[in-house]
Amino acid sequence: MLYLDNSATTPVHPEVIKVMEDVLKKHYGNPSSLHQKGVESEKLLETSRKIVAQTLEVDKEEIVFTSGGTEGDNLAIKGIAFRYQNRGKHIITSQIEHPAVKESCRFLEQFGFSVTYLPVDKQGLIDPQMLKSSIRDDTILVSIMHVNNEVGTIQPIQDLGAILKEYPRIFFHVDGVQGYAKVPLKLKEWGIDLYTVSGHKINGPKGVGALYVRNGIALLPQMSGGGQEGGLRSGTENVPGIAGFAKACQIAREISVINWEKLSKLRKYCINMLKEKNPAVIINGPEEEHVSPYILNISIPGLRGEVLVHGLEKEEVLVSTGSACSSKKDIISPVLQAMGIDRETALGSIRVSFSYQTKEEDILIFVDKMSRVVNRLL
């Protein structure tokens, strides 16, 4: 099997598994307990926090562990909105956000918040000037994803952050689930206030993630209880998951630059080969600039996405249509729609997503199987 669905989820890194097994077998204490077993777990937790903080170049106190990207996005958006609503009730986001962001904003609309959903161009890019002109006196939050999960577009976060620096009362949240440890990031320099990370997209475990919350920001917690995570996120900490997640962060961060270079080449190579075999292939999203080398979204005119995915699966290559969360519905992706991609092309789109393990050979196999499937189907 050739697994090219790494944007849906990734295999867990062997070293991460090792860490987790060690914790599962030995360090079962509750971090809140005062005895040795508890103290051990507490130490693990704090070491993990330090590691994650280092990968983001932030303070340890600015990391809140969560149950994943969805919770992180919910905590950031609703946490800011409900805490700072006396300052204003306007939020700016984009039309191509993940449902975890979009649905959180929709929810807030029921509470009298107004939300501007910024459009994107054909490449899936937001125009920073558009952001600027959407800012109002009552804007309290801007939430923009770092890397789009369906087409891989990297938003100009640095430029958006530069604009927002002129508005110190507006918080800037970035959903970094697909970007973290994969594409360049300078949290502090770019003026990001909140950044969401999820473990299972970086060869870590599912059900764990982190939210970076800049010092000085008070979020309204989404869960009450024992007061863990500095009161921001109650509930007994997922110690094995957190320890595994920290290991995954550490590894991913170490190899991120090398991977960026390697995968940038492989992605380009893949596009060239696909075009060579089938000149009609359409690349959805940017071809070279402003795009994550981990994601490639393509359409073959005249073929449905699901049909292609099934055809490829028979050839032992696993890819997906759009994002995993929406892949079961027979509606066209809101992301592709927002990019102005025609219905036909959108229905035919598949997402191929790579990982640190992806090799040149894999690209060759994929292109080969792809052309076989296409020739058979067309």
Partner: protein, 402 residues
Amino acid sequence: MRRVYLDHSATTPVRPEVVQLVNKYLTETFGNPSSVHAFGREARKGVETAREQIAALIKAKPEEIFFTSGGTEADNMAIVGTAMANQTKGKHIITTQIEHHAVLDTCKSLIKQGFEVTFLPVNPDATIDLELLKSSIRDDTILITMMHVNNEVGTILPIKEVGQIAKEKGIIFHVDAVQSFGKLPIDVNEMNIDLLSASGHKIYALKGTGCLYIRKGTKIAPLFFGGSQERKRRPGTENVPGIVAFGLAAHLAGQEMEAEAERLTKLRDKLIDGILEKIPNVQLNGHRTNRLPGHVNVSIRYIEGESLLLMLDMKGIAASSGSACTSGSLDPSHVLLAMGIPHEIAHGSLRMTLGKGTTEEDVDYVLEVLPEIVEKLRSMSPLYNSMKLENNEECSKCTQKR
């Protein structure tokens, strides 16, 4: 040195069968359950099997089980979700004064949003008065939320009776079963439970996974928003290893429940009797018999719980002074205070919770070590020495002072 873990109400070690299964789901079956390809389908199968295993343990239907990140999230979702979805019917909630903070603080957060909450007082043994409950019900009561077993003192609450009352009045009934799930029989139909919280790490599975049972037809809003996982009630990529672990642990707990309850009850009673016999000025907290098998909580007068814990820890015994979450703070437990136990006695409380790995030798070891430590601590306490001069007042009388 002998190491004895007696803090199973705080959390449990992960059982070997579970570790093995988790390993499989970390290595081979790593797919995203929402993916339609083979890897996704396999992961989905694991999640659905776990759902069946958990449903079976409480006589629910698999589609009534929704996975969460733990007991705290399940409690929050049950309470906030019910409040949000039913507020047009009324804004009154009934709970008790001895709930876990995941319930108490969630209810308090609703007060800020215009809800009214009745916190029922409890009897000295942490049981509740059903007549008081009945008289607290109002026309606008939309939810009764009550724990099955109290985590600090182990008392079992009359869930079935409360369920009957809630049903007759048409009020949604939520049970925080984090401490009883997998340990005591639960039948959501017989007990008329509409919502029930459970957590994996209390039954030898993983921290960070739990579930909320939602009776079909119960109106409840989600806590989080996003993808369509858990039929939109709990979005977010599923914690597949955690979920399959929880399912297996629930299945095994069901198989072992009766025998384990019997075994632990014996050990518990031996420990309680031994302590009461060997140490003067001690009282048992919670109900003597109507308590969780394996749950011991005593107040030892004239000593500080904190010092006691430290000394026990040095002897290899891991215990606690209250719930794990609050043991970091110096405030006496809200549960003991609600039971009418005076501050100074509450401060000397010791919780020892037994579990799968606990043996009779462990209990014997505690009964050997604990009296010595208590004697040593008391000999350093000026309070104890002056008391000894005055008289030898029975400790049980102290509780009646309040």
